[in-house]
């Protein structure tokens, strides 16, 4: 089935041809958010819980005589019995506390929002990383630019170009134009390196 086929919908209307832009766009869905660090920590905790369940199951089978070997929990309890304060507890305790702090921070950290919306009728989003690629792509189109690389945040894009001359204005205009369809276009800054700079930087 092709979108451009004349499809009759249940409402009796024809879908018409593609990309007509006559119909209002579908309302936007909420911006997707990344789960961040907790997206990794959660499954890891689930695996730890699984290991704990398996350990308890093993202890039960060993204690009931259904499984050979010795029980681990009584041995661990026996090993801890009589333990007194020792110097190594200071670094070990601090390491455990730091791990706990990391878990607390991971739990309370807000979800990551790494996409930015475009000015569209429907919900169109682009990842911050891809903003840098778009900026580099626009910069490479400028006459006199030999190569371009970029870094981006949600609010700013920095483009570094190697050029045959001072192409700052042209690159800035090209990148600004390329990113103009964003709902909140980022600040654009351009660094230009010419062949003269490279020669000067050589030892």
């Amino acid at each position: 089935m092709s979108w451009s086929d004349d499809i009759t919908t249940p409402t009796g209307a024809s879908t018409g041809t593609s990309l007509s832009a006559v119909r209002p766009p579908m309302p936007p869905a909420a911006q997707a958010t990344g789960s961040g660090r907790i997206g990794v920590v959660g499954p890891l905790l689930a695996v730890l819980l699984l290991a704990l369940g398996l350990l308890l199951g093993r202890e039960a089978l060993v204690a009931a005589g259904a499984l050979g070997g010795s029980a681990w929990l009584p041995a661990a309890a026996g090993g801890l019995d009589g333990l007194s304060a020792a110097w190594w507890l200071v670094p070990a305790g601090l390491a455990v506390a730091l791990l706990g702090l990391w878990l607390v921070v991971s739990a309370l950290r807000p979800r990551s929002r790494r996409t930015v919306p475009l000015a569209a009728g429907t919900g169109v989003f682009v990842h911050v990383r891809d903003l840098a690629r778009l900026a580099s792509g626009a910069a490479r189109e400028v006459d006199g630019v030999l190569s371009a690389s970029s870094s981006a945040t949600r609010r700013a894009v920095t483009v570094t170009v190697h050029g045959t001359g001072d192409v700052r204005e042209q690159v800035s205009a090209a990148v600004t134009g390329a990113l103009a369809p964003l709902r909140t276009p980022p600040r654009v800054s351009v660094r230009v390196r010419t062949g003269d700079d490279d020669e000067r930087n050589e030892p």
């Binding site: 202890e59 009931a64 670094p91 305790g93 169109v124 990842h127 690629r133 792509g137």
Partner: protein
Amino acid sequence: MSRSVLALDRLAALLLGLVLLVVGLAAAAWYPGWLARPWPGVPQRVRTGAAGDVLAAAWWPWAAGGAGVVLVLLALWWLLAHLPRRGVGALALPGSTRGARLLIEPDGAADTAAEVLARAPGVRSASARVLHERGRLVVALKATVEPDADLAEVVSAADAVTGDLAHVLGRADARARVRLEVARSARHRPRAR
């Protein structure tokens, strides 16, 4: 991953983190004697006699076995809950009656929308999924665009495609999210400088 699973992840991480933080700080403060300030009756040695009694009790194997089974089932559910959401099934269309239901497989319509979007200038490829998200029907389109694509053109193509899709699905509650990914390098095309 649903919000409730994420909330469970956060709660578990917070609780375990607080426990580790308190236990770790207490262990570190024990040797220099700082633990006696908040806890004057701090013991000189660890005593695990009570735990040994529990582990030797006749009911222990049953309790450990039961708890182990519960924890394994809970952990498996928790792990599976992290798997990506599956798509939605057939949707009822407007005009359906009790005797004659009109159904549409939304994935087919969404795939067609993706194919059309992929033909737009500057778009290299596109794919689509239909999900239930926070009680709404969401069409999630993903399009890979060229690094030198004209975003305005891509946006207008996305608006048009989702408009057509909304018309085909006939669902007022449908929402769309188009995620643009930018290809690392442009395809080689004839060009002149």
